[in-house]
């Protein structure tokens, strides 16, 4: 058994690309080795921005032998009347270099055929690797490639070296004009010259000596530990998200955490601006006290030990200039009258062929008006409608042009500075949130309203332009926006029918009734599938509970549907659900296949039938009222109360009467009962507990 060590040394690869490349490398090695019947125990990977390592343990020295059955001509044409081989058979033997004794018969779908079993000896692993490594490297996919040398091989960054050791012996190969060798680079500045590598053990040891911590997990641990030390030492919280952690892990071969301070005068800037400039411009982390107040301290990660404090001193100077820039944008933007910037939105396209942002704010105004009325929040109308007009103004400020991630936030901050009403600036501040269903709850109702309006307008606009969402692709964030809408509706208990909002939104993007109908139906489908997935996978409602409500007429009254699913989920924990399940199944069975009929009181025969009708009529009003008030448990109890009467009816009355009129009338009564139940849910789809 051998082992195999591979390192691709490369000039600094962007941190955001590295995981994807590692994944492809591992996958491709696995695939190509399997394809070539080379056995191995495991593939280990490590990567930094300057190297990709693959280590394969217990790799066999040659590929498995291959048993192949080679099909020849049919028996009919192979043997002549005298029982002698024909030309066809002779050619087959000659081609495969075999004797007549090697030929056997097999039964195929097309009749008897001749064939031979051939054993191909497996190639040496060395030779296979020689062939597949250039293929693997050539097949890597990057978001952007470049050319740099005569080979004209596109790659993500220039390749420096290819280390390729099978059983500690160099495999000679070439890719992009670079020949494999035993030499690798160490740390970019701390390591002196090329390092010779003779084994995997050697590789790890040599890199360690040359200031390269090759394993991601170890670098991560070092960074996290050192940040925690600082947090404990000065009693603060350092905010770090996955993106920044990933950046630090992959951008430093020898990460060392450092801290520094800046002039307190910059704390006068809004904390949102301070943290954005630190993170985006300088890749430094903001630091907060225990009350979540931002401090004049920062934390960063260096690629060398900072014993002389050169790195932290340097960063202290640099951050000063960065905050001066922030102050420049902040001060200058505030010289403009923020309200008047709305005119400038006419010059900015929302999306190609979807009008400009001024048009968009007009549509938002209209949708917000609808939403506030539907949710009985007329008292907020003036402010939130004003917010809908102003919410995109910050797109023309210097700050947002420079830092698009501050959109919304800056609009809010600029208006707050102008002493605008709290409802206005807060609505704008958060209206791009939430970013998905699992995001946190919005802090302001008005922002929720504006967020729904903005997102339904995005979704409707994109879908009207034929943009599709597939399982892997959603470049315009349509799915995320839809999920966010559902989240806001549930979070703020907004009782309205999204269908109506969809219709209004669709009206603005279509010219005729037919197009509108088509668009509405696409949107409806989108939301149905989002509701189904969110209810089942994120809210953890039972799948059969979700099935029972997903086709009800008012499913797009999302908050109602949420309450309904909650109530039914409670009921499925009790025995009473079984009554509803069997009743609904029974009703559906009987009425299956019939047209819809109407009840005629004159045709009601006998007491059982008349009583059932009376009870149905009384309960119907009550049940519908309970359902309107989202009181589904009680509504169901009402249905259950009818059970003895219904049972009695089924016992005494023959639905399929001989007289068609009477039969149809009885069906009509059962259809009405079914309809009453179905308004709540299709209980027949719920799985009985026993």
């Amino acid at each position: 058994m051998s082992d195999f060590l591979f390192e691709l040394g490369i000039e600094e690869v962007p941190a955001s690309e590295i995981k994807n490349i590692v994944f492809q490398l591992k996958d491709n090695f696995q695939l190509k080795l399997d394809e070539n019947l080379v056995k191995f125990k495991s593939i280990e990977t490590s990567a930094t921005n300057r190297r990709f390592m693959i280590y394969i343990s217990e790799i066999s020295e040659k590929a498995d032998d291959k048993d192949e059955q080679i099909l020849g001509p049919s028996k009919k044409i192979s043997i002549d009347d005298n029982g002698q081989p024909t030309i066809a058979l002779k050619k087959f033997m000659e081609f495969n270099n075999i004797e007549l004794s090697d030929v056997i018969e097999i039964e195929t779908k097309k009749g008897l055929y001749l064939c031979t079993n051939k054993v191909t000896e497996g190639l040496k692993t060395h030779d296979i690797l020689c062939k597949i490594i250039p293929e693997i490297l050539g097949e890597l996919r990057f978001s952007k490639t470049m050319l740099w040398n005569e080979s004209r091989v596109p790659f993500i960054r220039p390749i420096k070296n290819i280390l390729c050791l099978l059983n500690n012996q160099l495999i000679e190969l070439e890719f992009s004009g670079i020949k494999s060798s035993k030499f690798i680079d160490g740390h970019i500045t701390l390591s002196e010259s090329l390092i010779e590598i003779n084994s995997f053990k050697d590789y790890i040891e040599q890199l360690g000596k040359n200031f390269v911590i090759v394993k991601e997990k170890e670098r991560e641990k070092k960074i996290i530990n050192e940040i925690t030390e600082i947090e404990n030492e000065i009693d603060v919280n350092v905010k770090i998200d996955d993106e920044m952690l990933n950046y630090y892990i992959y951008n430093n071969e020898y990460p060392v955490v450092f801290k520094g301070n800046f002039n307190k005068k910059y704390l006068k800037l809004p904390p949102e601006i301070i943290s954005t400039f630190m993170i985006k411009e300088k890749k430094l982390l903001p630091v907060y006290d225990k009350n979540n107040k931002i401090l004049n301290t920062f934390v960063g990660v260096s690629n060398i030990p900072d014993e002389k404090r050169f790195v932290s001193d340097g960063n202290e100077k640099v951050i000063h200039a960065t905050f001066e820039d922030a102050k420049f944008f902040w001060d200058n933007d505030r010289k403009d009258n923020f309200i008047n910037l709305r005119e400038n939105l006419k010059k900015i396209n929302f999306q190609k062929n979807l009008g400009n942002f001024f048009d968009k704010t007009e549509r938002l105004h209209y949708l917000v008006d609808f939403l506030l009325k539907e949710t009985n929040n007329n008292h907020m109308c003036e402010n939130i409608k004003q917010a809908s007009y102003l919410c995109k103004n910050d797109l023309v400020t210097r700050m947002v042009r420079e830092f698009p991630s501050l959109q919304g936030i800056m609009g809010g901050l600029y208006l707050k500075e102008m002493n605008s009403e709290e409802d206005i600036w807060k609505s704008i501040y958060w209206h791009y949130e939430p970013k998905g269903f699992t995001d946190k709850k919005l802090e302001h109702f008005g922002a929720g309203i504006l967020s729904i309006a903005d997102k339904i307008d995005n979704i409707t606009g994109f879908i009207s332009k034929g943009i599709k969402v597939s399982s892997s692709k959603d470049p315009y964030g349509i799915r995320r926006d839809a999920n966010s809408i559902i989240k806001v509706i549930i979070d703020f208990e907004m009782n309205f029918d999204l269908y109506k909002l969809i219709e209004l939104a669709a009206e603005k993007f279509t010219k005729n009734k037919e197009d509108k109908k088509k668009l509405v139906s696409q949107l409806q489908k989108l939301f149905l599938s989002r509701i189904e997935i969110i209810f089942r996978d994120l809210l953890n409602f039972r799948y059969d509970v979700v099935n029972s409500i997903i086709n009800t007429h008012d499913i797009l009254s999302i908050y109602k549907s949420f309450l309904k699913a909650t109530d039914i989920s409670k009921m499925v924990e009790t025995d009473s659900i079984d009554i509803l399940i069997s009743l609904h199944k029974r009703l559906k069975n009987i009425i299956k296949g019939f047209n819809t009929f109407f009840i005629s009181e004159d045709l009601l025969m006998g007491d059982e039938e008349k009583i059932l009708f009376e009870i149905y009529r009384e309960s119907k009003t009550e049940i519908e009222k309970l359902a309107i008030n989202n009181n589904y448990i009680q509504a169901c109890s009402k249905i259950i109360e009818m059970k003895p009467v219904i049972d009695n009816y089924f016992e005494k009355v023959l639905v399929m009467a001989e007289d068609d009129k009477i039969k149809e009338n009885r069906i009509a009564l059962l259809q009405s009962l079914n309809e009453l139940l179905s308004k709540i849910a299709d209980f027949s789809l719920i799985i009985e507990s026993n």
């Binding site: 040398n149 005569e150 970019i188 701390l190 060398i304 050169f310 820039d325």
Partner: protein, 284 residues
């Protein structure tokens, strides 16, 4: 170390490494990349090694002399190595060493920064080089110029001279730098920065600028037709600078920006083609 000593040291280093030391160009440019010594010479097959100091104008970056390291005119040191050497990174680190920077005590990072200059149809892949958090250089593998794919590729190294000086002189602000002997940066530049910031952001006559943009453009077109691609390129540079002032004045809408950039890119592409035809190295 004074700014003039940095320039002298860099000229010395790159001269020792085979570069011809050129003078900076005498028409306003946004970066050394836009000079004819870069734009034309990266086209075609002929090897080229050049290094020069280039003052560069970026009207949007003006800060009324109030920002410690942002100015509307800064100084670049531009190096072009064609074809790209195998040891570009090491050469660069050695140049820092030549300037007296102890590279083992500072956090030097090659941080992704792909550069593009759409108005001359040029782009490249590479990094900004950070030294203790300060961006001191751009390091770019040139991929296209004038919309033409380059073969061979060139390596472009652009040092920000003020940034380097701040770093080497341990200053908080470029205005505290020494240019040479007793002349300070502040003395040389403060008034200029203030006046140009006022002009670029507040006073520049928008109608006048639009008008000369069109005239420069028409002149360039005529010159291209006459195969005088060198003067044509000068007028393209003037278009670009005029565009930058209009941009600083916030006079350009998004849609208009796209159109104007396309106008300039088309000119650059025609000029590049003329150059290649003339020098007989057709890369298309």
């Amino acid at each position: 170390m004074s700014l003039q000593n940095i320039i002298i040291k860099l000229q010395e280093f790159w001269s020792q490494n085979g570069c011809y030391i050129a003078s900076g160009y005498d028409t306003e440019v946004g970066a050394g990349t836009m000079t004819p010594d870069t734009f034309f010479r990266v086209l075609g097959e002929k090897p080229w090694k050049v290094a020069f100091w280039q003052p560069s104008r970026r009207p949007c970056d003006g800060r009324y002399a109030e920002n410690p390291n942002r100015v509307q005119k800064h100084n670049q040191f531009q190096v072009i190595l064609k074809p790209t050497p195998d040891n570009g990174q090491i050469l660069f680190l050695n140049s820092l060493n030549h300037l007296g920077i102890d590279i083992r005590s500072h956090d030097i990072k090659f941080d992704e920064d792909n550069w593009a200059s759409p108005s001359i149809g040029a782009w490249g892949v590479g990094w900004q080089i950070m030294c203790d958090g300060l961006e001191i250089s751009q390091f770019t593998y040139f991929q296209q110029a004038g919309g033409i794919e380059l073969n061979p590729n060139s390596l472009e190294i652009t040092y920000g001279l003020e940034r380097l000086a701040i770093f080497l002189d341990k200053r908080n602000s470029i205005y505290n730098l020494k240019w040479g002997h007793d002349i300070s940066y502040s003395e040389l530049r403060t008034k200029e920065e203030k006046q140009f910031s006022i002009y670029n952001f507040e006073i520049a006559n928008i109608d006048f600028l639009r008008n000369i943009f069109d005239q420069y453009k028409n002149e360039a077109k005529k010159l291209i037709e006459s195969n005088l691609y060198l003067p044509a390129y000068d007028y393209l540079l003037k278009c670009s600078h005029t565009f930058n002032i209009l941009d600083a004045r916030k006079a350009i809408s998004t849609a208009e920006r796209t159109t104007l950039i396309k106008t300039m890119r088309d000119l650059s592409s025609k000029i590049a083609k003329k150059y290649i035809k003339d020098t007989g190295k057709n890369n298309e």
